[in-house]
Symmetry: C2
Subunit: 365 residues, 2 copies
DNA sequence: TTGTAAGCGTTATCAT
DNA sequence: ATGATAACGCTTACAA
């Protein structure tokens, strides 16, 4: 891989882009700005200015240089640029799990927004938990990159590891309710969302409702809060609420929860069941089908998320989390920080989702 | 953002990591290796060697330096490193659409594999098609980064734009059947997959089958091939096959296809329908439900993909594409190229998926 | 085992 | 409008 150190490379001869690209040895073509400058009979400073595109330069010169660039197939070395500039318009994204549809959508959305802000997005996906116990290695990579700002989209990272850096690098935590006084956050309003969908269940005349509430656990924090708020609202609305615990991941049989729900339904104890995440709702739907339970005839069911692919096809009644807004606000706040020259006022924003009607929620029969 | 150029920064005083991190003006803390060296009373060369971890150094020296690093909160500047080294162990990933479950899983898998190979993954998601008509801007970014290799996971890019570079930078095209003689590819064997699931349909006694075959179109290339192979195999197996065209995206009503299928089913013309992608199967399931068609009682249905979240919950009969293997082989080939000092023999690999039984496929009644 | 110093490819200051 | 040239922060011969 490594080109022979300090060995002069013929450049301008075996060119990368245009012609047949004779292989200039292993490694990179390494056409440098100096090559372009020589080719165009100008100084590197001029080439640099033209690439920059802001300083005025004679039209004739520009043409010469552009031509030389095309002929040589020059590609700017971004490492050298960053080193010389000392700053970067790249936003680093620390992403939890790209295979999770929620993070996938968020990733796509952030990508779009950064492009619109004429910035670049550098994504570092955290390795699976069992490979790297904490996510600070990803953070470290971003810091080594000297990105201009950091977007943290992972519930797993301990916010405290961010603290030492937030004073010197723009940072925004996304989707994790974290009210630390020096961390910018944009998150979902779990209370509003929980109330929103609970109100829908009430509006459909359900008076006996099961709510699935994961135990308090770092991984399940968000779902725990959702479930708690749902139950709270239902009770306030006069409903008779049965909460069902979900033990922490891996600690027990995941089907236990669904078995419990199905039993409650059969015994006519509830006419609706609320899940704090669409995936759980989906699992229930499957279990219910195998148990010959009809939905929503025998029981109504709701979830939260609204990001599963094909969700509208499945007809899940759920709350759609506003990922687009999350991405937009996150980027606005990051870029405000990046263009300010001091710290800016810390923001903690909460986003409310929208109810998505679905076939799984019907009037109590 | 930009720190005052050439202005001496106090370092060693307002340190980033450990203490309260007094803000050293806008921009970065900028503790450099020189600071660490001074602090530890050694030369920068020694610090560099210790960071490198391969050259032997005296234990006492190492301790001193490590301590200085911790005290100053030094974080290595990766741009300077790359510039000085001239090579990189970062693999660039050009990713089509992170919100697509298939690409999401692939992304996650590649992330895992690169970590295992002790390399880094730099992901560039292509902006939506309507924002950037071609994906070469992402490619350009990767090239400017001087990544050590490029993984292309996007059907949209024209392989010809890669050609000028493949001679000088390790490249592998993932998931797109592209038999260009100078492009390494790892793709799915659409023929084998099509045959595989067609055989299952035959094995369930279906003799009158509808196959949904998208027209030939860059975006639908893969699905087109799958459908064609399915139909071919069914016919070879003696089945009576009705193919149903899917027009290119956006050119017409997407529900037309499902309406046609439903009509065929009602008229008892077919007992099974095969889709070239799970998303289409899902859409059909939804349409069928609304049309009061029971699945699989009235008609069996199959898809291809196996990556939708919660797919096992939905009970789709499909072919699971071996994304893990795709990622693994892609990385093995890239890293073989990166560690070879010349070009290596071009590989075109095809991967066969596995049949996933599901409730949507049953014996003909 | 450690230090010295010459690059790496850009950018930006200061002249011209 | 353009050209020298000194940084930028690190790695790595080469010396000691």
């Amino acid at each position: 891989m490594t080109p022979p150190k300090h060995a002069p490379l013929e450049t301008g001869a075996g060119l990368p882009a245009p012609s047949g690209a004779a292989r200039p040895g292993p490694g990179w073509p390494t056409v440098t700005m100096a090559d372009v400058a020589r080719e165009a009979q100008v100084s590197t400073a001029t080439v640099s200015r033209i690439l920059d595109g802001v300083v005025p330069v004679a039209e004739a010169t520009r043409a010469k240089v552009l031509d030389a660039i095309a002929r040589t197939g020059y590609i700017r070395n971004e490492a050298a640029t960053r080193l010389a500039r000392g700053s970067s318009d790249t936003v680093g994204l620390l992403l939890r799990d790209p295979s999770n549809p929620y993070y996938g959508r968020l990733h796509a959305e952030l990508q779009l927004r950064t492009a619109q802000h004429r910035m670049q997005l550098l994504t570092v996906a955290s390795p699976p938990v069992h490979v790297a116990p904490n996510e600070s290695s990803g953070l470290r990579r971003l810091l080594e990159h000297r990105v201009g700002g950091i977007l943290v989209a992972t519930g797993l990272i301990d916010p405290h590891v961010l603290l030492p850096f937030v004073a010197s690098i723009p940072t925004v935590v996304l989707g994790r309710p974290e009210d630390h006084p020096s961390l910018h956050t944009v998150a979902h309003d779990e209370q509003a969302n929980g109330y929103l969908i609970a109100d829908q269940v009430l509006a459909h005349d359900h008076a006996d409702v099961a709510v699935v509430v994961p135990v308090h656990h770092p991984d399940l924090l968000v779902e725990h809060r959702r479930g708690t708020f749902m139950a709270e609202r239902l009770r306030a609305g006069g409903a008779n609420v049965t909460t069902i615990d979900v033990p922490p991941p891996r600690s027990s049989d995941p089907d236990m929860v669904n078995a419990t729900v199905i039993d409650l339904v059969r015994r006519r104890k509830v006419t609706a069941v609320m899940f704090p995440a669409d995936m759980r709702l989906l699992a229930f739907l499957s279990a219910a089908q195998q148990a010959q339970l009809r939905i929503p005839d025998d029981v109504s069911a709701t979830g939260v998320d609204g990001v599963l692919t094909g969700i509208e096809l499945l007809g899940l009644a759920t709350v759609r989390l506003p990922i687009e807004t999350l991405a937009r606000r996150g980027l606005e706040i990051i870029s405000a920080q990046m263009s300010a020259n001091g710290p800016i006022e810390i923001r903690h924003e909460s986003l409310t989702g929208t109810f998505m009607p679905g076939r799984t929620l019907a009037l109590r029969s």
